[in-house]
């Protein structure tokens, strides 16, 4: 279990992270979200021991982060962190050995993962010769090669096509099932929604929202109503508590302040024709994110 407790980090006089606390249980996928410069990278750097918190404590399975502990952490950075002049095998041996693995074990696991990602023929190719997507796969493989107890994934799907995104997700879920704690950061909220059970949203280093995804969505009162049919847009807009009405190609999306407005909207829909769908859904994480970040900036 990873425990981040009241962590604050200053760069000179600039506060990068402000009193941040969260826990990631074994076998849990945790989302650390925020706009650029929110303090995500600083938090990651503190978790893997690159930076020391100015205040607060970070413990992994009850132990402070040191070089014994970091051997059990896998980190996939947002930017490519590969030595491009090395071959895939040399790169794996380099990072694997630094994680305390034996050469034979590294090669055995590398063969497995290369096969899994359909990249066996690239084993002895220089990394700079690979495409961006394949480099991302290699970076991911080097992060999971030592089967980490804590896996930190900063924008893991960058440069990947949908098929490979699916493959990555499958592997990440496998690690979750094996009991690894996973911290996940992405600007693509649909990915976060698919994965994360718990999350934190950071704005200017400060936590503006935290909790389980279900609770967050439940607590977030605004809802979306999806309608398929011929319904008057103007009349929908006139309903008190309707925030916005979007007339999309196949459906109408009505954004409402809270559950209370559902009946009023339904009354309008009943008067329409050819109605085949009336579905009430929680707001998307993207909407929650935009709303929370916007509120924080307004303050």
């Amino acid at each position: 279990m990873l425990s981040v407790s009241h962590v604050t980090k200053y760069y000179d006089t600039v506060k990068a992270v402000d009193d941040l606390s969260f826990e990631v249980q074994d076998g849990e996928i945790f989302g650390l979200l925020g706009v650029n410069g929110a303090g995500k990278t600083t938090t990651f750097r503190m978790i893997i021991g690159l930076l020391e918190p100015t205040k607060g404590k970070i413990l992994l399975n009850g132990k402070p982060i040191d070089y014994q502990v970091t051997d059990t952490i896998g980190f996939l950075t947002e930017e490519r962190s590969l030595l491009t002049k090395l071959t895939v095998l040399e790169q794996a041996i380099y990072y694997g050995t630094l994680k305390g693995m034996k050469k034979e074990k590294i090669e055995e696991r590398l063969d497995y993962w290369l096969d899994r990602f359909g990249m066996s023929e690239y084993k002895n190719r220089k990394i700079k010769e690979l495409s961006k997507g394949n480099q991302q796969k290699i970076q991911f493989i080097t992060a999971i090669l030592h089967e980490p107890k804590l896996l930190i994934l900063d924008e893991p799907f960058t440069g990947l096509d949908p098929i490979n995104v699916e493959l990555f997700m499958e592997v990440i879920r496998e690690f979750k099932e094996k009991g690894s704690s996973i911290i996940f950061s992405s600007h693509r909220m649909e990915h976060v929604e698919l994965f994360c059970e718990k999350l934190v949203i950071l704005v200017k280093g400060e936590c503006v929202l935290e909790g389980s995804l279900k609770e967050i969505k439940k607590d977030y009162r605004k809802k979306n109503i999806h309608i398929i049919g011929d319904v008057s847009i103007d009349k929908l807009k006139e309903v008190p508590g309707v925030l916005d009405v979007q007339n999309l190609a196949n459906e109408i999306v009505v954004k409402i302040k809270s559950d209370k407005e559902i009946d009023d909207v339904f009354e309008v829909v009943k008067k329409g024709k050819n109605v085949t769908e009336f579905k009430v859904e929680d707001a998307t994480l993207n909407e929650i994110f935009l709303s929370k970040v916007g509120e924080a900036y307004d303050k």
Binding site: I48, Y67, D71, K85, Y94, L98
Partner: protein
């Protein structure tokens, strides 16, 4: 942690040595060194105008032809000219003047004439301009003839003339018994010093470049974050320093080996032991000269200090280069930042050359105790007898202490620098990092 340090050192060293470029460069270095050692042989092999004799026709009206001919050869030899001359005495050069244009060989007509006030004068006639060296040789030979004519007309006896013209006997006596009496000592010392300094100069350049490139590579690819999350910055820093120093050590030994092979090749390609400019061609001769001049004794006495001095200085340069590389965010920035360091080495190099010329210079001696310069200056001053063994030891201690201090504080900058990707307020950040423990 020790295993990871060993691995990083090995990895870094392999990256430098186990490459085809290392092999190619070393083959090229060997070939070039052999070429440099035999460059005069190569020049001779391809020939040129210097191979052709210059024909001199001399009209002598003062009776000094034999003396002129003899002196011409001697002066040419003294001036280290490889030009050959064919001399012929003629009664009247005017007969040859018309035909100068058609001569296949370069031909010079010399007319030695009596001169009332100045004993003699000479006219030099040629179709093409006479080269400076040839003109100098002719001028010197004529001057000697003039001196001889003047002396013979002074009424001195033959014995007196011989006594007057023969060189004065100069004998040397050194009362300090501890000092070597070898007259070759100074020359050998300066040669040995330069043999040590020049490769060191190049090896330091190589060392600085390598550390800078490697650290920048890891920084710009962000692999530094992965590495530093698994090994401490101290281990990482040490691995770079040790690997680069080992590399230049290996390259230095190889250069010495290539130098030996180049000298051996010279012994094979040239028949004489000494060529005209006094350069020793045989390795055995060099060793003998080093031994008899007393330089070998000095080398043996000072060897422990010299090894420590070179090692600490190489480490010092590696540390400084590593710290500077950690601060920069691109190899271009590093190359700019390393320029002052290169100039410091240049200062050391020039001062080392000047030490031979300015015997006992106080400024040079003070500089010889300064770290970063001491490894270039102290050995030279020691071999020249301008620095005692004790002073060499002191210079070594200063260098070791300074290296430790720079490592101690440099590591603080390195820890911050390697994870810094912005040049904004860079120096402020680095000075601030000195306070972090």
């Amino acid at each position: 942690m020790t295993n990871k340090l060993k691995f990083l050192v090995k990895q870094s060293l392999d990256k430098k040595i186990k490459t085809k470029w290392f092999k190619i460069v070393n083959v090229v270095l060997l070939v070039l060194l052999i070429f440099i050692a035999n460059i005069d042989t190569v020049v001779n092999l391809f020939g040129g105008d210097f191979n052709e004799e210059i024909q001199l026709f001399v009209e002598d009206q003062v009776g000094g032809y034999d003396l002129f001919a003899e002196n011409l050869t001697n002066v040419a030899s003294m001036m280290q000219s490889s030009q050959k001359y064919a001399i012929e005495k003629v009664n009247d050069i005017s007969e040859y003047k018309e035909g100068l244009k058609d001569e296949k060989k370069e031909t010079i007509l010399i007319q030695i004439l009596p001169d009332e006030g100045n004993y003699l004068k000479a006219n030099v006639i040629s179709y093409h301009e006479v080269g400076m060296i040839s003109l100098g040789v002719i001028q010197s030979a004529i001057n000697t003839v003039k001196e001889t004519v003047a002396i013979s007309e002074s009424g001195l006896s033959e014995e007196e003339i011989l006594a007057l013209t023969s060189p004065a006997v100069v004998t040397t006596e050194i009362t300090n018994e501890e000092e070597s009496e070898s007259e070759n000592k100074e020359m050998v010392s300066s040669v040995v010093s330069l043999v040590i300094i020049l490769p060191c100069f190049f090896l330091i350049l190589m060392l600085v470049q390598m550390i800078g490139a490697e650290i920048n590579d890891e920084k710009t690819t962000r692999s530094m974050e992965i590495i530093i999350s698994n090994v401490s910055p101290k281990a990482h820093f040490l691995s770079k320093i040790i690997a680069s120093t080992c590399f230049v050590g290996i390259q230095g030994i190889l250069l010495l080996l290539y130098g030996g092979i180049a000298l051996l090749s010279r012994s094979i390609f040239t028949s004489s032991e000494l060529i005209s400019n006094g350069t020793i061609t045989s390795l055995a001769s060099i060793m003998e000269m080093v031994k008899t001049s007393g330089v070998l004794d000095l080398l043996i006495q000072g060897l422990p200090f010299l090894i420590l001095l070179f090692l600490s200085s190489f480490l010092l340069y590696a540390i400084v280069a590593g710290v500077l590389a950690s601060m920069t965010t691109s190899i271009e920035d590093f190359q700019q930042l390393q320029t002052p360091m290169m100039l410091i080495i240049m200062i050391g190099y020039y001062l080392a050359l000047m030490a031979v010329q300015f015997d006992g210079a106080v400024f040079i001696k003070v500089m010889a105790f300064l770290p970063m310069l001491s490894f270039l200056l102290s050995p030279v001053l020691f071999f020249l007898g301008q620095m005692t063994l004790l002073e060499l030891g002191l210079s070594t201690l200063v260098s070791i202490f300074f290296t430790w201090v720079v490592f101690h504080y440099g590591l603080r900058i390195y820890k911050v620098g390697i994870l810094n990707y912005s040049s904004n307020k860079l120096w402020r950040k680095m000075f601030h990092s000195l306070k972090n423990k």
